[in-house]
Symmetry: C2
Subunit: 356 residues, 2 copies
């Protein structure tokens, strides 16, 4: 039978709580599918700063490299907010992305019919929204050269938005592949009327497009995309863009659904390796209370089954179970209209497991 090794990084805040439930769900998958998972725990973020003196310990990287996929809870918290950059939780996150070559960040944003009430947008605008933002994750402004220096007239600071052709090519191919499995509509977002990097981006997209004649391609400027996502989100299916634009647009797209506590993400390397994590943060304010919504982490585990292990059936089973539980009216506090009736982290996961 198939066996997979998963590096589990609970992280900070509510991370450990939601991770625990996702692991429970994975154990059910073991039984149902006759596969076996071995879970290797390691530290990333604030907990690693406290224990190991660095947000990304060598041991964590080594475990991750030996494993088939990584499942991450969340990192960060006020405790580390005023640390210097090299001792901040997000530095660990950026580091692991770069070190493991996780260049393709897949961020689905979907609206379940039973959830339209939690969105800030009108029902007719968001009902049926189902889009996928694909963000380049290891290039651009995030990893270009940074400079900071003094002049006679004060300080200067700069960041470089730089892309190599091959970096654009691999993310764009991924995007076409993903679009092909969805509605075959791809929107490439750039700022080609201003940025040189965007002009190269658009050129590469246009060069690759003929290899995917079945996918309908559209170029859109980032400012226009930020508007159109609000005006009529259903016009979008798959969206691909560079790192910084993707950071902004994927969060904007998430919020259209009103329930970021339910949204998963995948960060993929070449081949089958990937890191999976919920879109939400470590929510220090509710950590340890057992009330965090585990759905996003459980759906991240489902993405792992699909993209890293090829267990499409098991992935669908989890997703279907989540839909059924939500359809039946079960809600955690973040998405409940009646907070009194909200269930806790464990109860939510148990319901999902029961529905599988």
């Amino acid at each position: 039978s198939q066996s997979f090794t998963i590096t589990v990084l609970p992280g900070d805040g509510i991370g450990p709580e939601v991770i625990e439930q996702a692991v429970n769900v994975m154990k059910v998958v073991e039984e149902l599918e006759g596969v076996s998972f071995s879970f290797e725990y390691a530290r990333l973020g604030g907990c690693a700063i406290d224990e190991d003196g660095t947000p990304l310990p060598q041991d964590t990287l080594e475990k991750a490299r030996r494993s088939d996929a990584v499942l991450l809870g969340a990192v960060g918290g006020p405790k580390w907010d005023n640390n210097p950059a090299h001792l901040r939780p997000e530095t660990g996150l950026l580091g692991i992305r770069k070190e493991l070559g996780l260049y393709a960040n897949l961020r689905p944003a979907f609206m379940l019919d039973c959830m339209v009430g939690v969105s800030a947008l009108r029902e007719e605008v968001v009902q049926g929204v189902d889009l996928m933002v694909i963000r380049e994750l290891t290039g651009g402004l995030y990893f270009g050269e940074k400079r900071r220096y003094e002049t006679e007239n004060g300080e200067v600071a700069s960041d470089e938005l730089i892309y190599h052709e091959y970096e654009i090519e691999r993310i764009v191919r991924r995007a076409f592949e993903v679009a092909r499995l969805r509605s075959k509509k791809l929107t490439s977002v750039d700022k080609a009327n201003v940025l040189e990097s965007s002009r190269l981006w658009r050129k590469v997209v246009d060069r690759i497009a003929p290899e995917y004649p079945d996918v309908e391609l559209r170029h859109q400027l980032v400012d226009s995309c930020a508007m159109e996502l609000i005006r009529w989100p259903k016009q979008f299916d798959t969206v691909v863009t560079e790192n910084m634009f993707g950071d902004i647009l994927s969060d904007e797209a998430s919020m259209l659904t009103g329930s970021i506590g339910m949204l998963p993400s995948a960060s993929l390397a070449d081949g089958n390796f990937g890191l999976y994590e919920p879109v939400h943060g470590s929510a220090p304010d509710i950590a340890g209370k057992g009330i965090a919504n585990p759905t996003a982490t459980i759906l991240s585990a489902a993405m792992m089954l699909r993209y890293s292990f090829g267990l499409e059936k098991a992935a669908n089973a989890i997703e279907q179970a989540v839909h059924n539980v939500l359809n039946s009216g079960v809600r955690t506090g973040d998405i409940a209209s009646n907070k009194e009736e909200a269930v806790g982290t464990k109860e939510m996961a148990d319901k999902i497991i029961a529905a599988m």
Copy 2:
């Protein structure tokens, strides 16, 4: 009596139509206020490419420099979309901003009670929204060094996001001044957890903040701001940010109102000089039909009266007239629920003039 010289740049598409009506409104202001305006016409954008072989003719710059303010319609259109960069309309726009030192872009986004129906957001979320995005307009990625070169492994392209301390300082001061005249709440948006330029930005904001103890300051990350603008826009009053983030967030904020055909903007230099233009584009598809909404351009003229000429009373009179006309149910096609009853460009402007 006071007299002011205004450089008028009708531009392309619907630009000339909406400009004509804004000029008509200004002529009414002349009478009502006993001031005199002299209107000097010049070319910018596509029309200048066609007539003068450049999107920003020297004559236009000279006229603008001799005048007290600039009123712009809109530039651009499919005719010039495939031109090389130096022959594109937006290059003229970027050029005039830089040449005239228009570093402070003020982008109000407000929801009139009678217009809540046109927003994609729920009534309770957008009712009463009234925010001002202040975008740095002559620095950052737009004007940093651009590079493009070949390597053995293909092409590379880069743009530099660079800020000098004094550039940050002047826009931040403007923002505090504006916030002081509004609800005294300022949100400074950056990506200080990743970008060196954002860390300098935040440092400068924190250095200046004590000079404005009456203004409540908050720092927010750009991805979080993109979400929060949708979740609960009423938490924002004045928002200040760098050029590229401002391009994206100001357009996102505009679309919250659902009626970008009504939103004006100001781009200010040191002192009283400024360029005023509607937020919408040149809308080539409806150009020449006499159906474009002139409200955004008329409200841009009102901003000119306020910020460049100090004619606060006249600015208020225009704004009040616009509100009254919209309240009475008069609508152009872009914001009409019943398109049959929509009025044209001239009729809309005439109603506004009558209401003054």
